[in-house]
Symmetry: C2
Subunit: 297 residues, 2 copies
């Protein structure tokens, strides 16, 4: 029916959770991504949900068999599990096929997995800058990547055709794409995502240590500021533990800069230095002006 032929014959999604099942849903909606969709997971229960949701053509717990027949395998599993799963399936992947993952941090994943690649297999990981605080196959939706960035981080020396294919894949998922290095990726994400999450988890932690009375009222009166933080802090702890550990060095360096800035502000408040406070507040607003149209006045 479709005039555009599908990009891949067979795709395996390992880990049909929030991200994985969103890819499945999207590929299911359009004929232009894959002819056949396989969902692979270690847990039968997860695969039963995938079958009930009817978002894959096949489900299996046999990752190796699935990978062996696929033109594209995307690991949609926690960052900390990627190395081991990649090492297990890579020896069985076909020449000309592509391995990808959607991990939120790169660290040394690129060179490490590049070193394991069999002849003719490419590694083109891609990080979609989209997500929610929910997880599992029921949490996904086909429009998750719509108009969001997906950052491609292929190791140096990756075949250009493989990169182009993965770019086309993400465009057909609705995303915009950009290529960057592992280091640059991890720096951008440290400030855009990892530090905000660290702060949000921490302030909820601080609120949780309050007296029971005060805590109840904090929940009750949660104004926009705090409510936004608690939403961020509702995200999956395993995923965030992995992210914090994997991007440790960059994250801690970014936190250090943040702490210096916080101390500058705290000192200004302590010393009633109205001028310095205003400077800090204005600088904080400055970056916002690059992001959004000006408020009405």
């Amino acid at each position: 029916m479709a005039d555009t032929p599908p990009l891949f014959k067979t795709i395996t999604i390992v880990g049909p959770g929030l991200i994985g099942s969103s890819i499945l849903r999207r590929a299911r909606q359009t004929d232009t991504i894959a002819q056949k969709l396989i969902a692979a997971d270690c847990q039968e229960a997860v695969l039963h949900r995938v079958t009930a949701l009817n978002i894959a053509d096949e489900t299996t717990t046999d990752l190796i068999a699935a990978a062996a027949q696929s033109d594209l395998v995307i690991l949609c599993i926690p960052t900390g599990a990627i190395r081991a799963v990649a090492a297990t399936i890579l020896p069985h992947m076909k020449p000309g096929s592509i391995l990808s993952d959607v991990a939120s941090v790169r660290s040394n994943l690129g060179p490490e997995i590049h070193a394991l690649l069999p002849e003719g297999v490419s590694y083109v990981p891609a990080h979609p800058m989209a997500g929610t605080e929910y997880s599992g196959p029921d949490a996904g939706f086909a429009t998750l990547f719509e108009d969001r960035w997906t950052l491609l981080i292929p190791p140096p020396g990756t075949a250009p055709e493989a990169i182009a294919l993965m770019e086309a894949f993400w465009h057909r998922c609705g995303a915009r794409t950009r290529q960057m290095t592992d280091q640059y990726h991890d720096q951008v994400c440290a400030i855009v995502s990892h530090l905000p999450h660290l702060l949000a988890f921490t302030i909820c932690n601080t609120a949780d240590r309050l007296s029971a009375d005060l805590q109840t009222d904090v929940l009750e009166y949660a104004a926009s500021g705090f409510r936004d933080f608690t939403r961020i802090a509702a995200s999956d702890p395993i995923m965030w533990r992995d992210i914090f550990l994997t991007n440790k060095d960059v994250l801690l360096a970014t936190f250090k800069r943040f702490e210096e800035d916080a101390h500058r502000m705290v000192k200004a408040i302590q010393e009633d230095d109205s001028e310095a406070i205003m400077q800090n507040l204005q600088r904080g607003r400055h970056i916002r002006r690059g992001l959004m149209p000006e408020p009405q006045n």
Copy 2:
């Protein structure tokens, strides 16, 4: 027409900005709040906007004359300006009338203004837990307070009828009300609002110090986490300077607790202490569970 008689004959709103003009709009929409609405401000330009928007019966720069004929005067001006304006108008207010304000911090405002009250005048300040990052008379809207909390903080010894009137006033503005002490108010707001704003301003500050390249990309890829923070940090700097200075002691004590919690998390990450990281993340999620229905799985 209305079966419910208006609560007040004449109300003066000093400072018809975001909050003040929202009260005016609401009172204009219903006949049950006031017979006559006066908007008072030092700037003619602001009053011209109020006239153009047709949200008051009268506008004036003469705060004293307006206060002298009012049954209720609400100061909707920056926290730092309240003491001086209250001192100017209070001697001219009628016996039986009420002075109120909407300041976001209490500190010593309660006892200080209580000490200035002429015979028969009551002071019933109320802090509506609602707002946006915009300001000025054009930014207000009649439903701003709908289903939000307004915290009443009358000084000890305030006439119960005056408190009851102000409760009715805020209910007719759509809000839920609760009474609390100044100290408790400032503690709740420090964690619910002031600390989140301090952190949001600071992280935007940190982002603004990045290299120009990285900064552009940070703006470009701003994921949910960071975008929420920049929205918070877009709020009015003068208002936030006032809030930070007025709630200095409680805010800095709350920041100190937050910093301890942050250091605990940073140490756990530094030492690859997966267990401790998970504990901190889980505790952060705990408070969220009190706030919202559980995520789907």
